[in-house]
Structure formats: structure tokens, C-alpha cells
Symmetry: C2
Subunit: 846 residues, 2 copies
């Protein structure tokens, strides 16, 4: 815009003056908007970014362009007008034009106190911010007199070696130049860049005739808004302080009136009913025409209302949703606008209880914010203690060096999880997010002593089992003791907004759900289906685990078949329930993925228990566990490699899925996914066996069902060879967690130890497990999608894994033409919104 049109350096703000926010800043543009709404805005002149920049560079401004608009002997304010109020800027300077003569006049018209207040305030501001004198040299008396003014003028003269300037043009010229220079100072620039301002952010200045809030009659100033910043609901908030100007009403804690009628004291509504009524009308007008909930800054001068400025009201995530939805519902903005106004990341906060913003925090340790929300509980160190605690009805926090599959049951029993190690996609983090548990991982500044059952915090503070801590998973902090929290803010406004999102988005959002409970959560969050059901999680339930272990210890095929025979009905029941909960929505089940040793105990006592359960000598159990152990389990005998070497397991799972599809009584159409594929022939072999199992079940049950079979693309090779793999796969789901691990050669469980240092040094721009690496992993996604589609145009493409819920990742894979994403159930709402925003952004572009 700024380049399309040359804007005047100085412009009188009117209905029709050619102005943009990009040339004059937000405050100037807003003043014009208020004028267009016929609000009583004092005369306002705007200086463009360019004019201010020139000023800072030492070029003089022709005040002949400014002053004539304000008549003879005006009183003026100058305020900053930048791209965003968040970027800071020089403070406002009020009462420019005060001098000895004006002082005398105002003593007459407004009284000595008011006149002295105005003059003194200007002298102080000028001395401090323009002449850069020591602020301590100037007093700020409660009820100033002419004597105080004389003293201030003398002090000024002493300190500045010149009398206080009496001419308004001199005063204004200095004020403008000093504010322009302040903006361009290095520290101010760094400060606003830290808040997101671009390096070349400009400053405009707004010169406005003062509405004098002090003097005779009803004088004062204030701010008012008509919706709650916390909830977004229609409520009147603000402050009004008599005999004040500028930000005094906000800065002074005492003395302001209640805004509305209140039994506790006098109110603005009663004292100034007309002004109150006028503001109410203005607020309706502003909401309608500015299409926002605005906070209005106003002044009363002898009962006469002046509107100085209006800004978007500050708002919580919850309020943001409410305001956007209400504006759309009232027909003020289209639904697309409402959707675009809500930050998907803010939405995720609403799904979880949070630490109260102002609660005192005694930090035990800092780590990675792995799963949002806050919860308080007693420290437990083992999964079984967690279960015992749950049985007693006590809230517990599971504290571990790291979690593994054997901890899952324990994680189901606690309110939060804390680990010393691990990164954003470590086991604890993934499961924590899946269960919606607050979770901090990689808290490497604390030390756990599992033997002594103690945690030593960053300040050497020692906590013991049973001590209470609060895990703040939103901010990655662990707090000592019970800390106040606020409820999750998910409400009907969110539901409405997401309903609109679903109508607009053009990419599917499914959930990763392993258990009936997860599936229920997914359905509650309106997921389009299940994109990843990790079937092995079902084997960790106590009754199944034992049978699973028997299967692992089977000496021969007959014994193994017998164990699998016992697992079959359990798996079938699991899947039946899952299909019934999902009521015909697609369910994609990944066949067994982890290495078998994950199902075996790691410690001595677990080994003893197992030996007892299996009636085997301890030595035999130990030997087998050792045999199965691996140097790099991530890269070992797991996934389809198990499916090829012990084919009976996948056959049992396929059979359980098919029988469940029939038993469920719903149109289940299961999708079966093969994990960790690296060669096309793996798919070919497994597909043949699964198709055979389907044929067998069809014959046995005399009933038909449909299913589809696809591949989880997790190895770089599978992505590169997606063309030939697609020949055997109806869908390709990219597992970006493992794909990231292998593309970087980086284990997510071990990355925690150096990831923060890497990100700090800028070696990685961001943790690639957190934010999809578009350059490396992204290229493999693109290549894989292209090749898969070239070989089989109707192939269904998706991603599952932690990136599935990330708005940036959603935008990226939508560009690549993927069909859906799958993410933790608790991220489904975020993903639904983000997907809608992508579609809308695309529509706007084209």
C-alpha cells in the first residue's frame, strides 16, 4: 500500500482524508474510523511513518502544516501510532502549548489547581523526555499551586540552562523530534523486534487537541469495554477517574468510580448518565462497523464527552473464540473471518486445565513442555505405586527417568507425568498427549534417585515420595506444592467455531487412538475417524501381557499357536468395541510394531515374577530376555520384520480385526496398516497372508466385509520407493516421528540431552520432532506422495504422528495433496481449525 500511493507527511484526519494504517499507524487510522462513525473525536493531525523517520534523521517538519488546524493557543497531545500497540513506543506527551499565559487563562476558566496540574505535568514530561533532565529534580504534588509551577520553571531553567520554552511551535517541534528519535534508538528497536516487530517497523505520530479532563464541572477520563477480556461474554468493564487525563485512570489504583450502578459506592453510570448512554451507543456502533470488540478511551470536559482512541480489547484464548463466534453469529463478520481470528495454538490451551496466570511459582525443575495442561498430585516413582495411589483415590504424578511400555498402565492412573529424560516425542510425551495428561519431559536439571525415592531439584531442594508437586505441561515447569489452577475453557463457542471449521476444511482430521477410552475422546472431539490405532497397546493390559509373554517364550510353533489362540478373542473384543464406538467412521489399525523385548520385564524382580508365571527357571527367562535385547531397538527386529519372521502374529491380528468387523454390527470397513516397511516385497508377503486370512474368515462366517490395506511410511527408503509400494497399498500413511528420526539419524528418546542446546545455537531452527522439517523430511513426504500417486492415482495419503496436529504441518501436507492427518485426540480441535484456516487462506489467495 505504502508503495502504491504517496501519502502526505502530515494530514488532517477527516472522513475522507487518504490514509492507511500502513502509512500512518494504527492509532491514526483508528481516529479516522471513529470520525467516520461521527464520534466526538478532538481535532487530530497524523504524521506519516516517513515524516517521523525524516524527523529522526534531522530533517525539520513544517509546522505550518500542523498548527493551523488547532486554532490559536491550542493545548495538544502527541501519541505514537505504530503498526501494533504491542510493539511499544514513546509515551504520550500531553498539554503541549501550556505556557505562562495559558496558565493564567486556565486559572480563570478551570481554576488554579487544574491549571497548575496541566502546566506542571507538561513541564515534568518535557523536562524528562524532551530535555532529558533528571526526573527526581521535579516534584509531583497532590494539589499543585501556582507556587509549585514557579518552582518547576526555575528548576527547569537551572537544569537546562535556558528558560522553559513558551512558544507552542518550539514545544511541539521538540516533542515530535524527541519521540521520533526515541523510536529509532537501538534498545527500542531490539525490544520491539523481540515482540515480533519487523526490523524496519515505522512510527507515525498523532497530534490531537487536548480534551482537558481536569477543571470545573464533570471532568475526568477513562476507558470502557463491553465484553469481558476473560470470557468474551457481554459485560461492561473499565475505569473512570474524575479530574484525570491520559492513562491516570488506569495507572492509579484508587479513587476511580464504579462504571455501573454498584451498592459499594458512586458509579459513572449514575454520575454521568448521558455520557454513559452515549458510550453504550458508541460501543454498539463500533462493534458493528469496526467489526471488533473495542476498548474506548474517553475524556469528559465539563460534562462533554470526547473520544480519544479505541483499541481491540485484550482477550484470553477463551474470550477470543467467544468474541469471534458472537461477531459472526450477529452477522457482523463472515464465519471465515471468525475462523481466521482464532489462533489454533491458543485453542489447545482451552482443552486443558491451566496454572492460574498469577499464581506464585516455586520452580523445582524446568523441562520440555511435552503435553499441555496443569495438574497437582503426590510424587510416585513406579507404575505400580501409581496404581496403588489411584486405588486410594489420591491424585499422583508419575516421576521417572524415562517411561516405557511397561509404564502405560501406571500412566493411566496418574494426573501428570514428569521425566528426567526424553524429548518432545519420547514415549512419555506421546502417551501423555494421547491421554491428555500434563507432561514435562527432559527435565535434566533435576535428578531422580529411584532407590532412595527422592527427586533433587534445580536448587538442590530434595522432594520425597508422597510430596506434592504441580506439573505445568503448558510451560514445561514443575512447581513445588499445590498451585492454583483454572478450568479448561472448552465451551459451546468453541464447538460452534469448530462446526464451522468442519464445513470449510477440505482435509480430513483423524485421531490416534489405541484404546476404547481414546476412541471415545476422539469421537467427542469430532475426529473423522481413527488414523492410527497402535494395536500393541492393547497387549499391555495385565491379562494380555502374560499371554503375550508366553507367546514370546514359546518353544515351538504349537505352543506359540496356543498363546495366539488365547490372544485372539481379547484382540477381537478390543477391536469390536473400537468399531462400535466409532460407528462406521474409518478405523486404521497398525499391526504389531514394537520389538518383542518391550513386552518383557527389564528389572530383576520383574524377571523373577515372569519366571514364576511361566514356570520356567530364572536363568532361562534371563537368557531369553538377553537374546532379545537390541543395541538399537528403534532400528531392530520390529514392525513388518516381525510380521515376516513370525507371521502368525499378524495373521492372528488380521483375523481378530475381520471377526470384529463382523461382530461389531456396524459397517466397520477396517483399514490395516503395515509398519516399518523398507522394501516392497515386505508388503507383498504380508498382504498375501492378510488377504488369505480375510478369505478364511469370510468362508467361516459366511459373511462378507470390506477392508483396505496400506503401509506406514516411516523409513526414508519406503518414501523413496513409494511407487512400487503403492502397487500393493491402498493407502500410505507417513509416520513422521520415525521418518524424522531416520532422516536425521536422531533418536527421539536420546535427542533430549542436546536438543535445547542445538536449538539455542540455531543448529536446528526448531526441534524437528516438534515442527515438521520441511526441507529434509518434507522432501521425502513430497517425493513419496508424488511417486505413490503416480503409481496408483487413487492412493489415500496421510500423515500420522505428532506433527499431525501442527498447523504448519497441516498446511504443508495439504499443499502436497494429502487426504487427511491423524493426531492425538486432544489435538483434533486444533487440527480442525488449522485445516479450515488453510482452506480459507487458499480461497483468499485465489
Amino acid at each position: 500500500m505504502q508503495n502504491d500511493q504517496t501519502f502526505a507527511p502530515v494530514v488532517l484526519v477527516t472522513n475522507t482524508a487518504p490514509m492507511t494504517a500502513a502509512a500512518y499507524g494504527g492509532r491514526a487510522k483508528c481516529a479516522q474510523r471513529l470520525i467516520r462513525l461521527d464520534m466526538p473525536v478532538p481535532t487530530t493531525v497524523a504524521l506519516s511513518f516517513k515524516a517521523v523517520h525524516d524527523l529522526a534523521q534531522g530533517h525539520a517538519l513544517d509546522l505550518g502544516l500542523v498548527l493551523p488546524h488547532f486554532g490559536a493557543a491550542p493545548l495538544l497531545s502527541v501519541r505514537p501510532s505504530s503498526g501494533s500497540p504491542d510493539w511499544g513506543g514513546p509515551g504520550a506527551i500531553l498539554n503541549i502549548g501550556m505556557n505562562d499565559r495559558k496558565f493564567s487563562e486556565l486559572c480563570e476558566s478551570h481554576g488554579e489547581t487544574a491549571a497548575a496540574t496541566l502546566y506542571l505535568r507538561f513541564i515534568n514530561a518535557y523536562a524528562t523526555h524532551v530535555a532529558r533532565l533528571d526526573p527526581d529534580a521535579f516534584d509531583d504534588p497532590e494539589t499543585p499551586t501556582a507556587g509549585d509551577v514557579m518552582k518547576a520553571l526555575t528548576t527547569y531553567c537551572d537544569e537546562a540552562d535556558e528558560p522553559f520554552p513558551q512558544e507552542v511551535d518550539v514545544q511541539l517541534a521538540h516533542v515530535l523530534r524527541s519521540m521520533a528519535r526515541a523510536w529509532e534508538g537501538t534498545s527500542a528497536r531490539l525490544l520491539r523486534q523481540a515482540k515480533g516487530a519487523p526490523a524496519d517497523a515505522g512510527l507515525g505520530l498523532v497530534v490531537q487537541a487536548m480534551a482537558i479532563g481536569v477543571g470545573r464541572g464533570e471532568c475526568g477520563s477513562g476507558v470502557i469495554q463491553f465484553a469481558s477480556s476473560d470470557t468474551g461474554l457481554p459485560e461492561i468493564h473499565g475505569r473512570y477517574l474524575r479530574q484525570s487525563q491520559g492513562r491516570e485512570a488506569l495507572d492509579r489504583q484508587v479513587g476511580s468510580l464504579y462504571l455501573t450502578k454498584d451498592p459499594r459506592g458512586p458509579s459513572f453510570e449514575e454520575t454521568c448518565p448521558e455520557a454513559f448512554k452515549q458510550l453504550l451507543d458508541y460501543s454498539v456502533l463500533a462493534r458493528q462497523r469496526l467489526r471488533e470488540e473495542m476498548q474506548i478511551e474517553f475524556t469528559l470536559e465539563s460534562g462533554k464527552l470526547a473520544i480519544l482512541d479505541a483499541v481491540r480489547i485484550v482477550r484470553s484464548s477463551s474470550a477470543a473464540v467467544h468474541i469471534a463466534v458472537d461477531l459472526a453469529r450477529d452477522g457482523i463478520i463472515p464465519r471465515e473471518d471468525a475462523l481466521m481470528r482464532v489462533d489454533p495454538k491458543a485453542l489447545s490451551e482451552l482443552l486443558h486445565r491451566q496454572v492460574a496466570p498469577n499464581a506464585p511459582r516455586s520452580v523445582l525443575a524446568k523441562g520440555i513442555a511435552a503435553s499441555p495442561g496443569a495438574a497437582t498430585g503426590k510424587i510416585v516413582f513406579t507404575a505400580s505405586d501409581a496404581q496403588a495411589s489411584a486405588a486410594r483415590g489420591e491424585a499422583a504424578v508419575l516421576v521417572r527417568r524415562e517411561t516405557g511400555p511397561e509404564d502405560i498402565r501406571g500412566m493411566h492412573s496418574v494426573v501428570a507425568v514428569l521425566t528426567e529424560r526424553g524429548g518432545v516425542t519420547s514415549h512419555a510425551a506421546v502417551i501423555g498427549r494421547g491421554l491428555g495428561l500434563p507432561c514435562v519431559v527432559g527435565a535434566s536439571d533435576m535428578r531422580i534417585d529411584g532407590q532412595k525415592k527422592t527427586v533433587i531439584g534445580r536448587n538442590q531442594q530434595i522432594l520425597r515420595e508422597g510430596d506434592v508437586i504441580t506439573v505445568d505441561g503448558t510451560h514445561g515447569e514443575v512447581l513445588v506444592g499445590h498451585v492454583e489452577t483454572v478450568e479448561a475453557g472448552l465451551n459451546t463457542a468453541v464447538t460452534t467455531l469448530l462446526g464451522w471449521a468442519d464445513e470449510l476444511r477440505d482435509i480430513g482430521i483423524r485421531a490416534n487412538a489405541d484404546t476404547p477410552r481414546d476412541a471415545q475422546t476422539a469421537k467427542n472431539f469430532m475426529a473423522d475417524g481413527i488414523g492410527l490405532c497402535r494395536s500393541e497397546h492393547m497387549f499391555f493390559e495385565a491379562d494380555r501381557l502374560t499371554v503375550m509373554r508366553e507367546m514370546i517364550f514359546a518353544e515351538n510353533e504349537a505352543d506359540r499357536a496356543a498363546s495366539l489362540e488365547r490372544l485372539l478373542p481379547m484382540q477381537r473384543a478390543d477391536f469390536t468395541e473400537l468399531f462400535q464406538i466409532m460407528e462406521g467412521r474409518p478405523v486404521c489399525i497398525r499391526l504389531l510394531d514394537p520389538p518383542l523385548h518391550e513386552f518383557l520385564p527389564a528389572d530383576r524382580s520383574g524377571l523373577r515374577d515372569l519366571a514364576e508365571a511361566l514356570s520356567l527357571p530364572l536363568s532361562r527367562v534371563t537368557e531369553r530376555v538377553e537374546q532379545l535385547s537390541e543395541y538399537n531397538p528403534m532400528l531392530g527386529l520390529r514392525g513388518v520384520r516381525l510380521g515376516i519372521t513370525v507371521p502368525e502374529i499378524y495373521e492372528m491380528q488380521a483375523r481378530a480385526i475381520f471377526e470384529a468387523a463382523i461382530d461389531s454390527g456396524v459397517d466397520a470397513s477396517p483399514e490395516i496398516m503395515i509398519p516399518l516397511v523398507s522394501a516392497c516385497r515386505e508388503v507383498e508377503l504380508v498382504k498375501a497372508r492378510i488377504d488369505a486370512a480375510a478369505a478364511a474368515v469370510r468362508v467361516e462366517r459366511g459373511q462378507s466385509f470390506s477392508y483396505s490395506l496400506g503401509v506406514m511410511v516411516e523409513t526414508p527408503r519406503a518414501a523413496l520407493r513409494a511407487g512400487e509400494i503403492a502397487a500393493y497399498s491402498q493407502f500410505l500413511s507417513f509416520g513422521t516421528n520415525d521418518l524424522t528420526q531416520m532422516t536425521y539419524g536422531l533418536s527421539r528418546d536420546d535427542a533430549g540431552r542436546f536438543m535445547s542446546s542445538y536449538v539455542q545455537q540455531g543448529v536446528y531452527e526448531e526441534d524437528p520432532f516438534h515442527r515438521l522439517d520441511k526441507e529434509g523430511v518434507g522432501e521425502l513426504l513430497t517425493l513419496g506422495a508424488e511417486r505413490g500417486r503416480a503409481a496408483r492415482p487413487e492412493v489415500v495419503l496421510s500423515i500420522c504422528g505428532e506433527h499431525g496436529g501442527d498447523p504448519e504441518a497441516i498446511a504443508f501436507i495439504r499443499q502436497c495433496g494429502f487426504t487427511y492427518v491423524s493426531c492425538s485426540p486432544f489435538r483434533v480441535p486444533v487440527a480442525r481449525l488449522a485445516a479450515a484456516q488453510c482452506a480459507i487462506a487458499d480461497k483468499i489467495k485465489n
Copy 2:
């Protein structure tokens, strides 16, 4: 060829008959060659592949095209003539044309015994192979009579329900059809495919007038060759048996004459001096004109020599080299031909002692042939026992579940290594090949009990510490006891051949060498330089290991600096020696790569020793070791990640390299390589520090030196981002071991457990750690090379790792325009030859 020209179904073999081996088979073509050399070859008629195929399909052959060439009442033989003698085929059938009348005639001319021998032999062959009668029904008397013939004819008539055919055209027609059909049977096809024949391999047939080796006067048959099959040196070998025909001389173990004068009995040379002289002349002629060492098949009929056939002599690897070199030296073939005639893989056998081909083998276990050669020694279970054994001067074999860096010193002390686990690129395998030690890994059918110090073999045989075994690393077998071996065959012929290879190859061959000993081996094998010096291997020497551990346990930067200060002179001395040995040839040094925990002890006693050495409480040592342990060390804090998080280590190494470059007194020009890069910024950061170290050393020493800096491309991401990485790298060396691991998501240490099953089932065509995966890993190599070169055209591209020595891999990366390969020192000769063959093959093509 077959398609370019239509060949007659039947052709009389003459000097000028239009014939190719592709249309008529090797034997037919060879007959023509012998005729062209004016050798006395009996009348020969060849049937084309097509003619034989038509016969098998039931089409009759016009015998009017065959029989007239042989005159009235001929005696004929029919022999197979396929693409290669190795592919098998129907046996020859001799004496076709024998009937009652011919029998009477021959009784007159050759005597009854000879006549009966010929007739009986034909009846037996015809009955068995053509009429498919039970062979047991027919006798084979030592000195047959007319009565035996009568009996055979009667038996034939009884069994076949028809009299034995008396007409030569009927006999020949049936023989030809039966041989044609035998070739096209399923089992014959599978058998020859197993030997490398294509699915559509054709059979030709050769009909030849019989030279009758039985009868009156000097009659007999034999084979003769004039070079040794074992050594390739000029020596006369063969057999001659009087009164024999066909393969009798070879099949019968007794009764043959010595070929040359021999004190032990009569010889062919003395008995038939003329024929002997003639054969000598023919051999010279054949060698000269057929440009090969040939074995000649001949018959004497009443003192008259007939040459039936000639084939390339069977030869050992060593003989193959010798024969090829001699042919080239004698000007018979060009050097290029000599190079193309030697299989690079055969060459690798010559570098190592082997189990004697006929030695009896009692197999204890089978595993993966990880490093070729054979050696015998006593079983030891630990590295320290290995060293003790070496101190006593006893040959030992190190037997471990798996080896790790702590075993390296032990491996230096043994003659062979055997591990229960691991694949072709596991630690044991890589180090074994590097040291040229015979090595079998992944011997999963044996079980090691380290506590009891026993090995239980595949047949439950229990061996104890100190028992003797022989490791056959060429064939992947472990044999019980001492087994006879034969010396390595590396000789001057090989040296000559490789000298020629070096003149022709257009790609560099460097060696992976970590120690001065390795470097010396590399130089002996004429490597062009060192392509990969794994600098960490120097830290495993006893004196360094302790300092290294001190460094790891350093509490603060000062302590760490002190330890590094002590490591510096040791590293400097190592590098100085390396540079001096290599005398200015390029040396590429990889900075520290393994995770630090690899330098720490894993077992309890090692931990105690360490606590003692460091004067630290055991608990502190245990805690630190646990802290450093990783879930997936391959994907953990190692390589450049150490270089970024503990930069002092790389700085020390760089300094050691630069100071050594000066101290060595040779023009060292070291190349410094950064391992495990996944992001461009890693290179940028490390490069800045190394350049600074170089500048510092230049100033301190007041001496200039040059060096180059590059990256080891081991992660898929580094390959994909090679363009930006090349901006900071003078060379890119692709580490195909790790790249394969990450592309497949497959740990080489854990792959052993299922790799053989995977290869057997055809899931992977070959172990990708053994044979470069051109499709997946290969695409990353191609992409990386293209992108690297696009960003920096002069970038030096290479591969290091196990694939470097593989001829197929060499051909592949040569196509991609790489500059050199680096491989184990012991594979350098193979690689030199393979590289030359690539260049020659290219020249032929263009």
C-alpha cells in the same frame, strides 16, 4: 546375434560354415575352431538351438540333412552343446549306428571284445536314456562277448516290448528327440538356473563320427592340458586310458598311463610319442589362436589321433590370474582382456589363507562369512584372555556374543574372531576385515555361555575355553579342531595384473586405516591414500583410554581442558606417524564419532577399576555411566553432535592434526572430515572452529600448511541437503554403512537376527550392508552427488565404508561421477581390479 541372422537348423561344421556359439552352442563352435586350426576333428554336424527346441516340441527333424554327411553305415556320437558347460545337459550317447550287422563287421575288423563293448554300451545307453528302461536290467561285463550282446538284445525286447532298433536313422531320431526333451524338463531347467543359466537357455546338439578308441593297434582316449589348474603354471596334466572311449579315462580311477615319462610305469609320451608330439603342437596352436589354456579331448584309433573337443581348463583363482597374465605377457591377448578375465571376488580369496578344499569339516556352527580367510586357534572368551594368550605365543580365537570397541585390543591379539550375533557390518565384521582376520558373525545356531566359558554348537556339542577351533571366514563356518589350510596365493602375477589395473582405472582407491599398522597394509596394497581414518580408534589404547575417561568425567571445563591437553600429544604422535607412513598420499581423518559411553566400561568389574583409577566413589562412576547410556546409541549424541556440544574435543583433534602435519616433515595436506552431519549449520559451526585452530597453529609454529575440510554424508538428510552442505565442504564422503542403516531404519548390529531369513525369502534381494542398495541408498547417493556438485562444481565425492570394496558399488558410483572409493586395506586389490574393469567395460561400450 541369433536374431540378426537365420541359421540353418542343421549344418556341417567346416572352416567356413556360418555358425555362432549363440545359435549352436559352445561345443559346436569349438569344433569349428579346431577344424580351422587343421586339427583332425571327425566329421561333425551341428543342430541349432532352434532345431533342438522344435524337436522337443514334437516337430520331426529331416535326417536327410544329417546322415548323408557320414557315409554308409556310420558310427556316431551325439553330445550336448549349450551356452556353458557349467549348465549341465544330457549325457553324450556314443556308438549310434551299432546293430547286428555292424557288430558282425566289427568282430572282424576290431575283434569280438571291442565290437561287443561298443554294441553293449550303445544298447545300455539307449535302453536307459532313450527307451527309459530300468538300467539294473542291463549288465556291464568287464570283457563282453557276443553272448552278452544277445542277452542284452533279448532283455531289451522283453522290457520294451519291441526289438532293439536296427536302423541308424531310427536310432538317431530317437536319441536326438530324447536329448532335446531331457533339456526342457522342469528339473533340468531349475538345476541349470541354479547354476546361472537364463530361463530360456537353449541346447544345441553335435553329431560326430565316432573315433573308436577300442580295437586292434594303439587304441584309447584321453584329455590333456598344458597348464596347471591349481597354479596356472605350464605343466602337463591329463589322463590317457587304452581301450576306452568317451569319459572313461576320466571316470575310471585305475589303469590309465602316465602322460609324461615317469619312473613309476609306462607313459603316454613313450608309448605314443608321435601322438604326444602332435598334441603338444596342437596345444601351442590352441593357446595362440583360441587365446586360452585349453584342455583337449582326443582319441587314438589304431594309432591315429582324433581331436573330439577342447574346453577352457578348470582353474583356481590363483591359476586364473597366472594364465591371464601369461597370455597377455606373451602378446596373445591385450592387457585389458587379461584384466577382464579375472573375477575381482576371486582375487580376494588370494589375499588370505584358506581351508584346504578337501579337508574334512566337522561344523560347530554356521554364520555369516564376514571376513575371508581361515585360521585355527584356542577358544578365548575375553579380550584380556586373548592378550594373555598372545603373550604366551598361542594362537587364539576370540569368541564373543558381540564385540565392541573395548575388544579391539583383544582382536589385535587373535588369529580369528567368532560372534554369536551381528551382521556383515557389525563391529566384529568391520574390524575383522580391517585387520584381515578371518571372521564369522551371527553364528546364531551356537550359544555362548560367558560365565561357564563354554560354546554349545549346532549339534549340542560343548566346547570349552582352550579347545581348538578353525574359523572359515570365507564360507562362514566354524570347524571343530585343527583343519588343514592352504597359503594365501598373492604372487607376482597378481602384482603385475594390479599394476596394469592401476594404469587403466579412472577412479581412486583409498583404504580405511585407523592405525599405523593399517596404514602400512594400505600402502603395501598400493592404496592411493587413506579415505577414512577413524580417529577414535586411537583412544582405545590402554594409556589413552584412561585419559579419555578422565575427560569424560571432568567436572568442569578446566578439568576437561587438562585431560585434552594430555591427549593432544598422543594424537599428534599418532597422526605424525600416519602422515609419515603415507608419504604425502592424502589422509582423510574423521573427527571423533562414537558416543562417549563407548569409552566407558560396561561391566561391574570394569566400573570398579575405573572408580579406582579416577579416585571416585563407585556410585558416582555408575551414575555417570548410566547418565550417558542411550536407548539407540546409533541415533544418539555422537559425531558432530559431540563436536557442537563439547567443542573442545574437535578443537584438540584439529590442533593435533595440524601440528602433526608440520612435524611429519612430509607434504601431508590432511583432510578433516565431520561425521554424522544432518544440518548445514553444524558444518558451518565446526568449520569456523577448525579454521580458527589452523590459524592459531600457523601463528604459533610460524609455518604454513594446507588442509581441506569436508563432511561424511551418513544421514538421509545430509544427502538431501548436500547442496547447502557443499557450500562449506571441499569434499563429501558418503558413509554407506550408516546411510544404509538410516535409509532402511535398520541397525547393522541387530539385523543379523533376521537378515538371512529376509534374504532367503527374497524380501531383500541381498543384505544391503553387503551389496549396495542401488534403489534406495543409491538414489540418495545420486541426489547428494548432483546437489553437491551443483552447489560446488569442484567438490570431491567419494564413498567410504564396507561397500567401497564391492565391484558393483564401484561401478555404480563411478557412473555417478565420484572421485574415489575407500575400503578396508585388504579389499584394496579387489577394488583396484574392479575399477579397472569398469573403465575397460566403458571403453568397450563406447
